[in-house]
Symmetry: C2
């Protein structure tokens, strides 16, 4: 327990291709740990029927997005398949200042930009599916899709996966409970990292 020592909040990024179970891992982590909050991205892409504004994304019009860019209100932003995605800055800095950690469910482009802006505070995890067959099965299970659609999704997944060398940790999601435990362990460990524990000097001065 390093709970006695003042520390900087950390930014935990989970990235993965579709079909690796990242959304389930994200929800599981948020449910099991009150010390971490989700960064909700802003996007110009249309809301899907199962999505909730403010929970999955903040859905905005292109001019509102551009206005946020101009006001430097975004930590990072990128274009993916013609739609813009970004991370609002204020919720992140507010959470970190309050000693809370922030979870990011973003892709490799967003991760690269966050790295440039928050090197020491960033912890990045890449989630991999357990096998080619299982990945294909999960991508197909999403909907009753044609082989061509599934092949296109596999190609997109392969492109995402090629960015694993840019991450600090790699977790294979063969078993959900084991993968959850691994991600929780990464968060717990990173909270005990010496460079993050800004209060150790003061704590130690009181010991001796």
């Amino acid at each position: 327990m390093s709970g006695d020592i003042e520390r900087r909040g950390l930014m935990l990024v989970l990235s993965s291709p579709s079909g690796a179970g990242k959304t389930t891992l994200t929800r599981g982590l948020l449910d099991s740990d009150s010390g971490i909050v989700l960064s909700v991205s802003v996007t110009t892409r249309p809301r899907r029927p199962n999505e909730v504004d403010g929970r999955d994304y903040f859905f905005v019009r292109p001019d509102a997005f551009e206005d946020m860019v101009q006001r430097d209100a975004l930590f990072e932003h990128a274009v993916v398949f013609g739609h813009r995605y970004g991370t609002p800055r204020k919720p992140v800095t507010d959470a970190l200042a309050a000693g809370r950690d922030v979870l990011f469910d973003i892709d490799w482009q967003g991760t690269q930009q966050l790295k440039e802006r928050a090197r020491e505070d960033l912890v990045s995890v890449f989630i991999l599916p357990p096998s080619h067959d299982e990945l294909e099965r999960r991508l197909r299970a999403r909907a009753q899709d044609s082989d061509a659609v599934v092949a296109a999704r596999m190609a997109k997944a392969a492109s995402e996966i090629s960015h694993w060398p840019e991450y600090d940790y790699v977790v294979v999601n063969s078993d959900l409970a084991a993968a959850q435990a691994k991600v929780r362990a990464i968060l717990e460990a990173e909270r005990a990292r010496r460079t993050r524990l800004i209060g150790v000097g003061e704590f130690v001065a009181g010991l001796t």
Copy 2:
């Protein structure tokens, strides 16, 4: 779970002053995790009544120790209060080659030498006692000692504690179960570190 991916073994160092509960944490970790083995140090200091040769230390005569140094059979060695301490090399390299992790219960001098010899594979954790009063209580509880003896132990503890900035992680042992969980999380997380997972490239090639 990254159990599907080949990885290098890691070397986990736990250091602390006397009275911080390190021995209990070490035993707890070894009992709960079959993937990690303890590196038993060799020393020229006399065996204490409660110590077992080959479990706590390998107790050897000075000439045998010097012979190990000459044969380069030690990973690191140092002199502490006139006695020599060292880490036999072969058990460590054998365990790492077999894909197991190795736990080291050594002081800051040994840690510094291991760092020089095994930079990437080394993970170092410094255990701190929860408070000045608790540290003093634990050092006194060891035996019915005079104030002068306890003061000398406190001074030695303070000297050890001054080396915390040389470690990767800092864990305060206020609550044993919480400290155990923290050390286990550090081990689990470090096992998922990308630089350690030498088989990811091959694994990913099979995915896509």
